[in-house]
């Protein structure tokens, strides 16, 4: 998701994005380790399990906020490239998981947890953005 900043505002936005993502990633690691430890050692009740299971979602949403702020600071061509990469990543993730769902149900493929959807989407978005940038060079 690397874009050349256009102006001083865009450079500031990129710095904010990097900082926001770093903070969110650190909070995510903390939330995952904290939740796993609490589930393993504290034997929490069902309602607490629900809260702990959703805990890592909060920093993941902070990542989304950091990206949306960054996206708003890009110029129209950069937004176009981001949009194309998002479409590719969305198509790959949605149709990939859809197809794998049928393979699980009808062809005895091993079960994969839904937790992999977000990492697959993020990775595909990164790869797609590199591909889109190369296409416009």
């Amino acid at each position: 998701m690397v874009c050349e900043p256009s102006t001083e505002n865009a450079k500031q936005a990129r710095r904010r994005y990097t900082r926001g993502m770093a903070v969110a990633a650190a909070l995510y690691v903390g939330a995952v380790f904290g939740a796993v430890s609490a589930i393993r050692y504290l034997d929490p009740p069902q309602w607490a399990l629900v809260v702990l299971a959703l805990l890592p979602l909060a920093p993941a949403l902070l990542m989304l906020r950091a990206y949306m702020t960054f996206h708003a600071a890009l110029d129209e061509f950069q937004r176009r490239m981001q949009t194309e990469a998002l479409i590719i990543a969305t198509a790959f993730t949605v149709f990939g998981s859809f197809a794998y769902g049928f393979l699980e149900e009808w062809a005895n493929f091993p079960h994969l947890p839904l937790i992999w959807v977000f990492p697959v989407f993020s990775f595909t978005f990164g790869v797609a953005h590199v591909f889109v940038r190369m296409r416009y060079k």
Binding site: S6, T7, D75, E76, F77, Y136
Partner: protein, 70 residues
């Protein structure tokens, strides 16, 4: 769509970065417009026209019109 951005920029001795700064866009955006890989929005096209102090049709032309003129 075709454009004369590269020629107009060269006449003024501006680099892509210079033009990008005047337009408040990235250098890669100027490059994509110049090479015809990206057609700018109408507001950006008007901004380009204003910077070069030219009517928009003297900078941008449709492919068909350009071919017909040749």
């Amino acid at each position: 769509m075709r454009n004369r951005l590269k020629v107009l920029r060269a006449e003024r001795n501006w680099s892509q970065a210079d033009l990008a700064e005047k337009l408040d866009v990235s250098r890669q955006s100027v490059n994509a417009i110049e090479t015809g890989k990206y057609d700018p929005s109408l507001p950006l096209a008007f901004k380009i026209a204003a910077i070069f102090a030219l009517p928009i049709e003297q900078i941008f032309s449709a492919d068909e019109a350009a071919q017909a003129a040749e």
